[in-house]
């Protein structure tokens, strides 16, 4: 029968919430609207409204290419006449960022591209900077790739040329070896020619004997022959001298041929080595040379915008603000309702009203979660379905905790206004002491310690681990236990506050 009471209380709460337009708007649709606005604000998928001012003394083709690339990312680009105007546009807010390109930017130029930003607009600056840096990096990579392709092309051509000329070198080497051999043979042949002749060996006595006594003829003949022999001897001497000279020249030529042969051989070896080195290059792809180490980030969800990274935070914020605001409002309304006295008059234990209010809040938050996750499914697809069971479990625990914190706030404060203010302050405090606004590590050590037990930090951590790393609840038992502890603590506090109020 008590379940009937509980159902009656929950049904009544829903009717009251739905019939009160302000409640429905503020409590039920307010947080959804808030999250929608935050989501849209952080969604950088479309940044068409952002204006970029640029300046360069002389726009090169490369600069124009970069600007066109920026335009393609849907940023509006406004070329200004001076660097001062460009910087001034950021100060005046007519431009969100000023980019100063070096004069006639080209591959050889070593000047930097300078960004002028307004650091007070942190989110915008990082969004634009990231997009433009990506664009410029892309262009830079493209140029690196082109350069690498050029170098690789030349290397390939050289390799082919070496291949071509290597046969010529072989042929020259062979010819030189042939020439050397001929020279050696010639030297040997020349050396083999015997030119040592002695005129004393002529058998003059035989010739004298034949002439007998014809001494005159003999002397004449002898003189003629002797003259001829003498002349022949002179000629022979000249031939010998010429042979010796030729021999020396041939020896020298052989030496030169031999040396050239060695040089050609060495040239061939060098070409072989060059070719071997070219062939031994492991990377011959320009893309690989331009980006030797390629990184690839594979998020569990489709990366369309910053919203992906903010999703756990948004979810945690939604549960926190909805839980706190809704439960405190429902509690204060119930407390201040004229019917509260009649509720007391009925034989119904306090616990049923506390539980009834809790269930009402829980169901409304669950409904909101279903809507949010339904919309999120459109963005994240199947990856979200994989984490849904753990996510729902975590959201259930987190929502329960915030509901009891909110109910406790509702028990303490008397009017809806102060209750809402207290809920918002509590939520904001938890938000400020988390990583969402400022890195937790940048706070004083004591605050960091406190922050680690901040329910928002814990709940956001759980949701983040589940959504981004598909972690299970079992893997985060410590965090779950802390949240459960807070939950139980606030349930007890709420119940005690309820009893004290009624007493």
């Amino acid at each position: 029968m008590s379940m009937k009471k509980l159902a009656g209380i929950v049904k009544k709460n829903f009717r009251l919430l739905m019939r009160s337009k302000s409640s429905s708007l503020i409590v039920v649709f307010g947080p959804l609207l808030l999250v929608l606005l935050v989501g849209v604000a952080f969604n950088t998928a479309n940044v068409s409204g952002i204006k970029i001012s640029t300046y360069s003394e002389k726009y090169s083709a490369l600069t124009e290419d970069l600007i066109n690339g920026i335009k393609e990312t849907k940023f509006a680009v406004n070329k200004l006449d001076s660097q001062e105007d460009c910087i001034e546009s950021v100060k005046l807010g007519t431009g969100h960022m000023c980019i100063v390109f070096p004069t006639n930017l080209n591959v050889q130029s070593s000047n930097d591209i300078i960004f002028h930003v307004d650091p007070s607009r942190v989110n915008l600056v990082y969004t634009v900077k990231e997009t433009i840096t990506n664009e410029i990096e892309g262009k830079s990579n493209e140029i690196s790739k082109q350069l690498a392709e050029g170098v690789l092309g030349k290397l390939s051509e050289t390799n082919l040329e070496i291949n071509d000329k290597k046969t010529l070198i072989t042929s020259v080497s062979s010819s030189l070896r042939g020439a050397e051999s001929s020279v050696v043979k010639s030297i040997a042949t020349l050396e083999a020619v015997d030119m040592n002749r002695d005129f004393d060996d002529i058998p003059w006595s035989d010739l004298e004997a034949k002439f007998g006594n014809d001494t005159a003829n003999f002397d004449k003949t002898y003189g003629a022959i002797k003259q001829q022999v003498r002349e022949f001897g002179d000629i022979l001497e000249q031939v010998r001298i010429a042979r010796d000279t030729a021999n020396r020249e041939l020896t020298s030529a052989r030496s030169i041929i031999s040396q050239n042969g060695l040089l050609v051989g060495s040239l061939g070896s060098s070409l072989d080595l060059i070719q071997k080195n070219i062939n031994s290059l492991d990377v011959k792809d320009a893309d690989t040379i331009a980006n030797p180490i390629e990184t690839q980030i594979k998020p569990i969800v489709t990366e369309k915008s910053n919203l992906n990274f903010l999703f756990p935070t948004l979810l945690a914020m939604l549960v926190m603000f909805t839980g706190l605001l809704l439960s405190s409002t429902v509690m204060i309304r119930e407390k201040s309702a004229s019917a509260n006295f009649r509720n007391f008059l009925t034989p119904t234990h306090n616990i049923w009203f506390v539980l009834g209010n809790f269930i009402t809040n829980f169901l409304i938050i669950s409904l909101q979660m279903v809507v949010v996750l339904g919309v999120s499914y459109y963005f994240f697809g199947k990856t979200l379905l994989d984490v849904v069971p753990n996510l729902l479990g975590a959201l259930g625990i987190i929502a329960t905790m915030y509901i009891f914190v909110g109910m406790f706030i509702g028990q303490i404060f008397k009017s809806e206004e102060t209750g809402a203010l207290a809920s918002l302050s509590t939520g904001s405090l938890m938000l400020f002491m988390s990583n969402t606004i400022l890195p937790l590590e940048s706070l004083p050590a004591f605050m960091v310690k406190v922050g680690l037990y901040n329910p928002f930090v814990i709940s956001e951590g759980i949701i983040r681990k589940i959504t981004l790393f598909n972690s299970s609840l079992e893997a985060q038992l410590t965090s779950v236990y802390i949240l459960t502890g807070i939950l139980v603590g606030f349930f007890i506090l709420t119940y005690i506050a309820d009893l004290r109020r009624k007493n």
Binding site: K5, L345, P347
Partner: protein
Amino acid sequence: MADVIEIKGVSKSFGNKSVIEKLDLAIPKGKIVGIIGASGSGKTTLLKLITGYYKPDKGNVFYEGANVNHNLYLVKKNIGFATQENSFYTKLSIQENLEYFGSLYNMKSEVIKKNIDKVLPLLELDNARYVIAENLSDGMQRRFDLACALINYPKVLMMDEPTEDLDPPLRRKVLKLIRDLNSVGTTIIITSHLLSEVEDLCDYIAVLHEGKVVRFGTIEQLRDIFGEGDEIHFVTESQRYDAVEKYMKSHAKSVKIENGVLILRAKNAEVLLKLLLGWAKKKKEKVIYADVKRPSLEEVFEVLTKKK
């Protein structure tokens, strides 16, 4: 006659302000008991003490012998309370409110429906059962609050100023309803500042003054104990009362002449009137006007609260 509710030595303060002080009261079963008192005399606080909504600082409240604060479930099951400020959800319809409160009494759906069908015609709210409560007129809201108190047909029905803001015909209907409920055995406790109504309706009256019950009893008992007696208005043609004035002073509590009217106060008004008529006959005085007025509850109340 058993007492359904007993209040013994109950005191209740809010901060430094003492609202109820050592109050003793017993409510007889099956009767209509009126609690009268000036504004701020503690009437509503007393009713809320009976329901257990307030815990007494001192003393105890008993329902059929059971201490209310230790037996809240029993008390809540048997006591209905029609509040001075309406106590229902203004954004729910009459039917939805009654179904909701019925469910809190652990009543079955059929029983709730049956009770709604019985109560609403009695209070002439049958045609408005689907109307959102905040859209009802003030009078309808008063009746609706009474309907909420009756949804479980309580044994004791407490009503805080039940006829306030009601037009005379509707007031008569509510009073009739109270009598009807009482006729079936329901003990009724009502507070009202319309003393004539209380005088007319209640079997017993408790006069509350400065947090205490200064007198409890039937209207006759209150008149007898604290009234200055009946008032006789006597007018003769000559309007000369010198002789009779002296004579009457020994019989009446007070004698005075105002604008030619001889006014006497005495508990034995009938006897005194006979004496006056006999005197007029004897003196041949022509009697123009003679009347006996009984003291009203208002007068009794004034006397009681003045005395205290």
